[in-house]
Symmetry: C2
Subunit: 108 residues, 2 copies
DNA sequence: TTATATACTATCGTTTACAATACTATTGGA
DNA sequence: TCCAATAGTATTGTAAACGATAGTATATAA
């Protein structure tokens, strides 16, 4: 009954990379982490080249993975604000580890 | 002449994720990092579901990015061995940071 | 002579990611 | 009355990633 799992299957790296991978998620996270809460329209202006459709899709994915949160205000015209969660902010330590690897191994 | 680059453009995260992203690279790296040098055929057997075509392509990409090295022996039938480079091994610290983030934020 | 083993490459098909464009709802103001 | 502003959704098309299959070279062994 108890399946013996290999150490490989327990590694969270594939899931983590899925959560922050793709063409847009890192850029969105960077803005929210470094600049704090942003409205949808502000994000669309700052993420150069992204379409509304894509921005919505990426924001939903980040929200589903608990990296950002979404707050809707009952106003007209509508206002929706996106913020990094604690979990999202905590990714900074991991990005720092990436940065250090880069400095050790790739930097000229 | 000197373009002023924003801190955002200097972040190596997108490149790093490109280097280890996709469906197969992490699995290949895990095997080479934890088990050491492997022949092509051994890798093909261990990376469940991968085709020869894909394995070759992923190995080339990892080699081009300096994460693994390739050694060809002039034998028949051919023998080719793949090993992690120092740079590839050094990714462990980053994977550890991912693991710790996961433990802090996702683990039950 | 024929088969075997190994590490490939070439070609084509499918599936997924991403892009482009148009459309929707709401309400305060000109 | 009609438009602006905001944050979307729906639809369709394209590009990139991935998969399936077949073919290549060559020394050795049967």
């Amino acid at each position: 009954m108890d399946e013996q799992k290999s150490i490989v299957d327990l590694c969270p790296a594939p899931r983590v990379i899925e959560m922050i991978g793709g063409k847009w998620k890192l850029r969105i996270l960077q803005i929210l982490i470094f600049q704090g809460t942003k409205r949808f329209g502000e994000l669309r202006r700052q993420v150069a080249g992204i379409t509304q459709t894509m921005l919505t899709k990426q924001l939903r994915a980040l929200e589903d993975d608990g990296l950002i949160s979404r707050k809707v205000y009952a106003e007209v015209p509508p206002r929706v604000e996106y913020s990094p969660t604690n979990s999202g902010m905590d990714l900074m330590k991991m990005f720092e580890a990436m940065h250090q690897w880069w400095e050790r191994n790739q930097a000229s």
